[in-house]
């Protein structure tokens, strides 16, 4: 495969897209796990399907439609949560289904043969074009900048938003920004793993690094590294076995995550057993 990477442009694009996606994914993945926004990101991802459909229907780039719809969904969910005091899980679920429904209707209204939507639903990293790469890169740059510029404020907000509010920090600004950043991350990941499979790539790296990283920053860095490993591993697997890239990236991520948890639980179990044995020893002698 190494020779092929130097030979084929599409493989270079795929590698780059995987790396860039892993960077945003590592940063935002850790945040959404800590802030319990997992379902929210799933909701945003599925709502973006409406944008993909609208793009095909009106004849513009579907990923731009996905971007618009996911940002609208993110701000909508945050607004409903704060102002209308709607239960977030309910509004997320409704946005989730509504987005898919709208997408289906837009696709049905599109004249001619229905377009192939698999690359949006399940991702196809091998079909990433230069334009896709610029778009993903732009989104990633924005996310990285927004998080790193205000890192100390983010940390305070993520740990305890009430206290940040007491200090006089504008928490609603950070709240909206966080939801929009999540939306941007989801869009950056669509080409790589697709709308439906987005969650695994967001969660698995941060779940694994959460097992041994004590600090927020190191957790983000570890997640990025794991993300890159999963993306490149999945890419290699899909190239070698000739199967869907999105699916193979997700399967590798989830398997690694399960293995990491298994190892952790085994060591904890062993330690408990040792502690128990040590307790028993003095009684016997």
């Amino acid at each position: 495969m190494i020779n092929a990477i130097f030979e084929y442009r599409f493989l270079q694009n795929a590698m780059l897209a995987g790396i860039v996606a892993s960077i945003v994914c590592g940063i935002i993945g850790v945040i959404i796990v800590e802030k319990k926004l997992v379902m929210m990101s799933g909701g945003i991802a599925h709502t973006s399907y409406a944008g993909v459909g609208l793009g095909y229907f009106l004849g513009f780039e579907p990923i731009i439609g996905a971007f618009i719809f996911s940002v609208l969904a993110a701000t909508g969910i945050y607004y409903l949560k704060k102002k209308a005091q709607a239960r977030p899980d309910v509004s997320i679920g409704l946005f989730w289904s509504l987005g898919m429904a709208l997408g289906i209707i837009f696709i049905a209204l599109t004249p001619g043969y229905p377009p192939d939507l698999n690359s949006y639903l399940f991702g196809n990293i091998l079909s990433v074009t230069r334009t896709d790469l610029y778009m993903t890169g732009g989104l990633a740059a924005f996310v990285v900048l927004a998080v790193s510029l205000f890192y100390n404020h983010w940390k305070a907000y993520l740990f305890d938003d009430e206290f940040a509010g007491v200090l006089g920090i504008k928490t609603s600004f950070l709240g909206y920004l966080l939801y929009i950043l999540t939306a941007m991350t989801v869009v950056a990941l669509i080409k790589v793993v697709g709308i439906i499979l987005v969650l695994a790539l967001l969660l698995a790296p941060s779940a694994i690094s959460g097992l041994f990283c004590e600090k927020l920053f190191s957790r983000m860095i570890c997640s990025i590294i794991f993300g890159i490993i999963f993306c490149i591993g999945g890419l290699w697997f899909s190239y070698a076995a000739n199967i869907s890239s999105g699916a193979s990236i997700v399967i590798i991520s989830v398997l690694c995550c399960a293995a990491a948890y298994a190892v952790r639980n085994l060591t904890v179990f062993r330690r408990k057993k040792e502690a128990k044995n040590e307790q028993l020893k003095p009684e016997r002698s």
Binding site: F159, L167, F173, C213
Partner: protein, 252 residues
């Protein structure tokens, strides 16, 4: 009028259909040490949250040092209930305390300066937490966690300190330490403390407010049967452990 740190006028707070606070009028003088007691759901925490602006009043007004809530220039320290905190967050004690020194405006490239670090160091030294500074918060005991929250509130040099059940999940000796600390702080800071600890109320605070949606009592820290009855609906058993003050008057 000049001596009032917090002035609350006819404050009511509703959550949907439920009234959490109704028609509260309360003033807290500068340098006061006010204890607030009351049953669960009596609106104690809501009152604190209203004072710092986390909960919007349905009617009525609150002013801090004579300024309306939105424009307050006085810094308020807030110590939330431990139970409401996220303990698994990957952050160290030192990082948490430093967040108390964050700038109000969200500036890019904000870094803590020397004076921030000095202030945090000083507070941690007084509270005896400095040797724990690099510990992750999930590995702190209840007492250490509580003291960390107090340190975070104090590091911004507040003029008013609001505490929500600071001894709820703390053992007796840490509790004593915290009360001792608060007593010292009270020399310079106005303190408002919500508590279930009637012992604390009797022996530490200067004034007492009893809250059960309405303000049942406000005055000296001495409870009569009538007040306890209207607060909790039944006589409360309080054992006096040879304390200098008694919570309840002796039955005649």
């Amino acid at each position: 009028m000049k001596n009032e740190a917090i002035q609350i006028n006819n404050l009511s707070v509703c959550y949907g259909q439920n009234t959490a606070l109704s028609n509260i009028c309360l003033s807290v003088e500068k340098g006061e040490y006010l204890g607030i007691i009351g049953p669960n759901g009596g609106g104690k925490s809501t009152l604190l949250k209203a004072i710092i602006g986390l909960v919007k009043p349905s009617s009525g007004s609150i002013s801090i040092y004579g300024e309306p809530l939105g424009k307050r220039s006085v810094s308020i320290g807030y110590v939330p209930q431990i139970a409401s905190m996220e303990k698994q967050f990957p952050i160290t004690l030192w990082e948490v305390v430093l967040t108390g020194r964050l700038s109000k405006s969200i500036k890019p490239f904000f870094r803590f300066c020397k004076s921030d670090i000095e202030a945090a160091k000083e507070i941690l030294d007084t509270l005896g937490l400095y040797n724990l500074k690099d510990r992750r918060i999930s590995n702190l005991s209840g007492g250490e966690f509580q003291k960390m929250l107090i340190a975070r509130a104090l590091v911004s040099n507040p003029e008013i300190l609001l505490l929500d059940e600071p001894t709820a999940s703390v053992d007796a000796s840490s509790g004593k330490q915290i009360f001792h600390l608060l007593e010292n702080l009270n020399k310079n800071i106005t303190i408002v403390m919500v508590t279930h600890d009637l012992f604390a109320v009797s022996s530490h605070v200067h004034t007492l407010a009893c809250l059960n949606v309405q303000l049942v009592y406000h005055g000296k820290p001495e409870l009569t049967d009538d007040i306890v009855h209207s607060l909790y609906g039944c006589p409360v058993d309080i054992i006096a452990h040879g304390v200098p003050h008694r919570v309840l008057r002796k039955h005649k």
